[in-house]
């Protein structure tokens, strides 16, 4: 809010600027879901206060997430696309900039035009919020630390850990000075039924900050650190099941049969093969909620189809990742859309002026995820025209560097 006011970004420009900033953040931190949640929680309310159309603004946030998920070297989809197609991550990212920019330029223009023409809401009057505080930008420090550490070549787990540590210290300090409503127990808390030991620990210095006494039925662990990790368990289990299912299909001959049918009847020329790769990836991602899992499921088909036409690893990885990134944030059941929607549902509790009516229906946003649609379109055009196509004989992908 403070930055928007300082830059005098109006309601009409706000979606386009949000797309750029969300794209930058997502490219830096590598998680489109995280970017969506952060922007829905922090930037979305600010946009509504300025009077921006909420559906368009949500579409801009999701578009930024698509951009970053597609391009970020530390994005899970980027890593899966490179590793499954035997290509190095640096080369994959460099080779996909041309497609990302070709989609982002018209998407940015579309947000400018839609921002200027679509009806805006009345700026949330009587909210009592007229300006944010400059210290809100301090929240960018942990993000900068993650990006900086990752760029210096540290392992991604280490980079994210430093970001988490900094965010923890920063938020607890801001909470201590009453600038935000965050305490240590919001980050991590052990809730135990009352007993002599628990009461002693609860009142102890330091350790007492993460211990709470609760009625017996409510015992458990909580806090954002714990909830964030728990949130990933469904993805882990789903990925394991998909990998197991794919392996069973491979051993049983189903994979081979489907591949043979595709090669004999559908993918008979290189153009048709690439169009099949684009549409196949899009179709699987349209059906599976979590896009990384969908990507793992379709990756072996892309690999075999592409290799049958000597299409090199970079091109295969780009076709695979672009459509994975795009479709995961378009349809109402896509993981990215749902992550944003879930975050949005917490806003009425957070801000008194934010009414339930302001929450965007996930089914309404799909036409406005401009960057996602343009990215799919760019790849369909690229498959038909040969734009960006590279054969193994043109350039061999370098050895995979596993992060």
């Amino acid at each position: 809010m403070w930055a928007a006011n300082a830059a005098e970004v109006g309601a009409a420009l706000f979606p386009a600027v949000t797309f750029l900033l969300a794209g930058l953040l997502a490219t830096g931190i590598g998680t489109g879901y995280g970017t969506t949640i952060a922007f829905v929680t922090l930037v979305f309310p600010a946009g509504l206060l300025l009077g921006t159309n909420p559906i368009l603004l949500f579409g801009a946030i999701l578009s930024g997430a698509v951009f970053g998920d597609n391009l970020a070297p530390v994005s899970d989809t980027t890593i899966v696309s490179a590793v499954t197609q035997d290509a190095d991550i640096g080369g994959v990212v460099a080779s996909r900039v041309k497609y990302a920019v070709a989609a982002a330029v018209p998407a940015f223009a579309a947000f400018l035009i839609a921002g200027a023409t679509m009806t805006t809401t009345d700026p949330a009057a009587g909210s009592g919020v007229t300006a944010g505080a400059a210290w809100g930008l301090l929240h960018l420090i942990p993000v900068a630390i993650v990006i900086g550490t990752a760029i210096r070549g540290r392992h991604i787990v280490e980079a994210v850990s430093w970001g988490l540590f900094t965010a923890f210290v920063l938020n607890v300090m801001l909470g201590y000075f009453d600038l935000v409503d965050v305490g240590v127990s919001d980050v991590l808390v052990f809730m135990a039924p009352e007993s002599g030991l628990v009461t002693a620990l609860d009142t102890a210095p330091l350790i007492g900050a993460v211990i709470e006494t609760v009625p017996a039925g409510e015992a458990g662990v909580g806090g954002s650190l714990y909830n964030g990790a728990v949130g990933f368990f469904p993805l882990i289990v789903l990925t394991l099941l998909i990998v197991a299912g794919a392996q069973i299909m491979r051993q049983g001959g189903g994979f081979e049969a489907l591949q043979r049918w595709l090669l004999d009847t559908v993918a008979t020329t290189v153009r048709r093969a690439e169009v099949t790769m684009v549409l196949g990836t899009a179709m699987v991602n349209a059906m599976v909620t979590i896009n990384t899992a969908a990507e793992i499921a379709i990756a072996p088909y892309i690999r075999t189809l592409g290799r049958r036409f000597n299409i090199n690893g970079y091109r295969r990885a780009n076709i695979l990742d672009a459509n994975t990134s795009a479709l995961g944030y378009i349809f109402p059941w896509g993981g990215g859309v749902l992550a944003g929607y879930s975050a949005m549902q917490t806003l009425p509790d957070e801000y008194g002026w934010f009414t339930v009516d302001m929450v965007v229906n996930p089914a309404a946003v799909f036409p406005y995820v401009f960057h996602g649609w343009f990215l799919v379109a760019v790849f369909l055009i690229a498959a038909v025209t040969g734009f960006g196509r590279e054969y193994v004989s043109d350039r061999e992908s370098e050895e995979v560097s596993r992060v």
Partner: protein, 79 residues
């Protein structure tokens, strides 16, 4: 390849039928077999490696020995 070149690589409309000349040496993936011959398909260009004992999906280097540009077909040998 420099870092900058990596961004520009592939920035073109690449043909579906890449052309080669006798003497060209290139890395390829074996894409099929026809009796004793190995087949290499690069886009819609087809190269035949007569009497070559390699398996489908093997990554090898070949030398083009004959090429018909009109047909986008040719012959090659294993290096």
């Amino acid at each position: 390849m420099s870092r900058f070149d990596a961004f520009l690589a592939g920035f073109e409309f690449r043909t579906a039928t890449p052309q080669y000349e006798p003497g060209d040496e290139l890395p390829v993936i074996i894409t099929g077999r026809d009796g004793d011959d190995a087949l290499v398909r690069i886009g819609d260009t087809r190269l035949r490696l007569p009497d070559t004992d390699v398996a489908v999906d093997d990554e090898v280097r070949i030398r083009v020995t004959a090429f018909d540009a009109d047909d986008a077909t040719g012959e090659a040998e294993l290096l």
